[in-house]
Symmetry: C2
Subunit: 215 residues, 2 copies
């Protein structure tokens, strides 16, 4: 059986991930590609429990080391119990955030050393890298404006200030620069529907190459 | 201000830790040594949340990597927010389990590599080692007999089989052999009150040396 592809979506606050991910799912449905849709931190009962702890504003004094280990604990279970088994039986997996988010948030945002994150990626994410990553890049100001317009209660990450999100964005852009083959950077300052059209076109190409045995 | 001492208690199921720890606390109270009593995994709201997730029998398929990272996430927050600040203001800290438990349970029990645990100890436990550790050593059969007699619902760790606990015990004994200056191994096959008397005698010696500036 042909292994499925792991497609991840990354980006800061207000980048429009939800709209774009929905379009990507529809693109796979239209081409009858079986897929599993998930998110990080989360994706298993244990990992969703960790997510709730990490995002709870009550834990505002959470140290950077604890946060990094917690998201990788969730990720280990997610990869082991959900993502890897799905890929193995030929399903595609669409994940709202994955390891690049740790480089951006816990690395860029919180200042945890990159080598530390890379080491955790090797054994705690079982070395599993995405086949394609879409980075929705938007100016921090614009992203925060959209988030505020959306309303709702801000979680522990969303309560960070603009400088934190600037560091997150820079770390994401550095990732995209270092791995241009895997990471597709998209200008998410445009309307989400326009960004979604770019993603759908790339997904269509990926499906064709995958069916032809080239991906 | 003189830094307090970190005293940890380790041992498998049914080793009689509760009785012995209560006696150790009383010994410090009698000598008017301010102390903070805590446990692992746990000791902060975030870490107690992680403990609940890790011990929940509903997460029976938790992989060893996720378990190891989760207990160290809890430990990072515990050391950073609770243990280190208490020691810094001269309090002693008495903890029911600490890093040796990770070598025993996640290392010996689950087979996670020792170097991986040592690396996490370096940065996620901020290199903080106990000043004295009491290892309550009891034969696995006897410990499990006591646990069963106590009744109650078994958590995810307690549901493991005898071979698991044999590996945990062996790992604990290897720790004691490697660090005889720090780890005091006690024959916990005896009545808990008898074991407690040994601990109290050692605690009294420690307090004297600490007051004299030797510990």
């Amino acid at each position: 059986m042909k292994r499925g592809l792991l497609i991840t979506f990354e980006g800061g606050e207000g980048a429009g991930k939800s709209t774009v991910i929905a379009a990507a799912r529809t693109a796979l449905d239209r081409r009858a590609v079986a897929h599993l849709d998930t998110r990080e931190p989360g994706g298993t009962p244990f990992a969703e429990g960790v997510r709730a702890l990490v995002l709870d504003p009550a834990h505002e004094n959470l140290c950077a080391e604890a946060e990094l280990l917690a998201v990788f604990a969730a990720r280990a279970q997610h990869v082991w119990a959900v993502i890897a088994p799905a890929l193995a039986i030929g399903k595609w997996v669409i994940s709202d955030r994955y390891t690049d988010a740790s480089y951006a948030y816990q690395g860029g945002g919180r200042g945890q050393p990159i080598e530390r994150i890379a080491e955790l990626e090797r054994w705690a994410a079982f070395g599993l890298k995405p086949d394609r990553t879409f980075l929705l890049d938007v100016a921090v100001e614009e992203g925060l404006r959209r988030t505020r317009a959306r309303g709702g209660t801000a979680d522990r990450m969303e309560r960070e200030d603009g400088r934190f999100f600037e560091r997150v964005r820079e770390a994401y852009l550095a990732r995209a620069e270092a791995e241009p083959e895997r990471i597709v950077r998209l200008d998410a300052g445009r309307a989400p529907e326009v960004v979604a059209a770019d993603v759908v076109a790339e997904m269509d190409r990926l499906v064709e190459r995958w069916r032809a045995g080239e991906a």
